[in-house]
């Protein structure tokens, strides 16, 4: 059953259309990724789902109700929202716990226990981010909305945070995850929606998005004897062949490896320095959005 339902959502700021007829559903227990370049409408969409903004058009429901009516069941981590400079970590946790009927303490799991007495203004970017995650999860939400979860974290902290998210999901929480990191989406998300110019341009599992890309598999090798390129091009699995020096680069569909190696075996050609690459979500993303914007954070 869908726990988040977005139907034909539209939102504009003055003349600028931020989101235009966006629809998607998120099933209970799912981790749903929202990808796209800056200004593609991701944040506006999650703000509507968190009940911070009212849509101009369409409808948003969480647990079958208007988001504003089920705030206690939604945990939100926002981009650039801070706390008072001099508020201590322990005070922030206490304050936010007091808002919810059955608070949960994630501070230990997020490595905050040795910083409880530190004031917010003194925390590093990574600690602020971890505190913000702890506050999003503090109300034992059924839905967690995490906007730019691991931005500002170092690689180790990022991996730690991912395992926290997997734990959270294991506890049955549905997660809406806005991210710039394809590695993060590939690792965590069951499905992702790719946004561009206020619309969803693709919505599928990460692996399905990858396989949509033409030439998703790439085989590189140096043939032991010169090989007629047209033989490779004639294979139905092959979409393109190019040569770099003596090395051949063959791109094609999933069954490419088998097709190429069979051909080589028939011709008694040995493939030296053979390498097989799979296109990543990164490549799929670039193809879908036509930009590399925003993923270099």
């Amino acid at each position: 059953m869908a726990i988040i339902e977005v139907r034909d959502l539209g939102k504009r700021y003055g003349p600028r259309v931020a989101v235009d007829s966006v629809s998607f559903e998120v099933a209970e227990g799912e981790i749903f990724g929202v990808l796209g370049p800056n200004g593609a409408g991701k944040t506006t969409t999650v703000e509507c789902v968190s009940g911070l903004r009212a849509p101009d058009r369409g409808s948003v429901s969480v647990l079958g109700q208007r988001p504003a009516d089920v705030r206690a069941a939604i945990g939100v981590q926002l981009q650039d929202s801070e706390l008072p400079e001099r508020m201590r970590v322990s005070e922030a946790l206490e304050l936010f716990s007091s808002f919810y009927p059955s608070p949960a303490d994630w501070s230990e799991r997020l490595g905050l226990t040795s910083h409880l007495r530190s004031e917010f203004g003194q925390l590093s970017g990574g600690l602020k981010q971890r505190l913000s995650i702890a506050l999003a999860l503090i109300g034992s939400p059924r839905v967690a909305i995490l906007d730019e979860l691991t931005t500002g974290l170092d690689p180790q902290a990022r991996r730690d945070t991912w395992s926290v998210i997997e734990e959270v999901r294991a506890a049955g929480v549905t997660i809406l995850l806005v991210t710039h990191f394809m590695e993060e989406a590939e690792r965590l998300c069951d499905r992702v929606a790719v946004f561009r110019d206020g619309r969803i341009v693709a919505l599928d599992t990460p692996s399905a998005l990858v396989s949509r890309v033409d030439g998703a598999t790439r085989v590189r090798f140096v043939p032991s004897v010169p090989l007629d390129v047209s033989l490779l091009e004639a294979l139905p699995e092959v979409t393109s062949v190019s040569s770099v020096g003596e090395q051949l680069v063959v791109s094609g569909s999933e069954n490419l490896v088998h097709a190429v190696t069979s051909l080589l075996a028939r011709r008694q050609v040995v493939a030296r320095r053979l390498r097989v690459d799979q296109v990543s979500l990164d490549d799929a993303y670039v193809e879908l959005t036509g930009s590399r914007d925003g993923e270099d954070h």
């Binding site: 911070l52 206690a72 929202s81 706390l83």
Partner: protein, 241 residues
């Protein structure tokens, strides 16, 4: 809500410079002025009173405008600018509660400051305790409400925390002037004195309630009106982000 007030109070106290200044400064200034013999001798210039008697209301004015205009708008505008209010808007707790917590804490600071001033004045210089305690309470509450409401209007309309600080300082200076803080009121032209009776926080009503007979109800009514109008404007124009 209790938790919000508790934490706001801790934040207020942690900001020692401002909190001590707000609560202690009027009493300290009274001690300094009272140390000057001429100012604690009755004089016809001060209406037969001592200078320090005629100045107690100005000291209350200082507390009210300092807290209402130097602290309140800056804190509220910063909460908005830093996204604190937006963050709270995603929780079951409405961010207005945080502002309510701010008001409560600041108002308690006002009360402490005024009580301390009374105590110091009475014990050290024999300044009369308020002649009309209820009147003084009304004058402090309504004057405080008027000043806080002006502070909130500034917080609501200013585009940034910096701008809020700047605007509030201008209003702070003006109200201090009309309230007879810079120059005692008897030295001000009568038209300025008259204006001062009607600008928040209402120095005339404070003085009359403390050392006169009773505050003029019209002065109190004006403060009530200012609070109502400014409070409504602030509520109507407030942006949460």
């Amino acid at each position: 809500m209790v938790k919000i007030i508790e934490i706001e109070a801790r934040l207020f106290l942690r900001d020692r410079l401002n909190s001590l200044f707000a609560v202690l400064f009027p009493s300290l200034l009274l001690l300094v002025l009272g140390a000057i013999p001429a100012l604690r001798t009755p004089d016809a210039n001060f209406g037969g009173q001592r200078f320090i008697d005629s100045y107690v209301s100005a000291l209350v004015v200082f507390t009210l405008v300092f807290i209402g205009l130097q602290r309140l708008p800056a804190v509220v505008a910063t909460y908005r600018e830093k996204g604190v209010l937006r963050r709270l808007a995603t929780t079951p707790m409405h961010p207005a509660r945080l502002l309510a917590g701010q008001l409560v804490v600041n108002f308690v600071a006002v009360i402490l400051s005024v009580l301390l001033l009374m105590l110091v004045g009475y014990v050290v210089f024999g300044v009369d305790l308020p002649h009309h305690p209820l009147g003084l309470a009304c004058a402090v509450v309504l004057g405080g409400a008027g000043t806080f409401a002006l502070g909130l209007v500034i917080a609501a309309l200013a585009p940034s925390a910096r701008a809020a600080g700047g605007w509030a300082t201008v209003v702070f200076m003006l109200l201090m002037f009309f309230g007879g803080v810079y120059l005692p009121r008897f030295m001000l032209p009568s038209v300025i004195q008259a204006i001062g009776s009607y600008t928040p926080p209402g120095v005339e009503a404070l003085q009359q309630a403390w050392l006169g007979t009773a505050p003029d109800w019209r002065h109190l009514a004006i403060m009530g009106l200012v609070s109502l109008v400014a409070g409504t404007v602030a509520a109507k124009t407030f942006r949460w982000e």
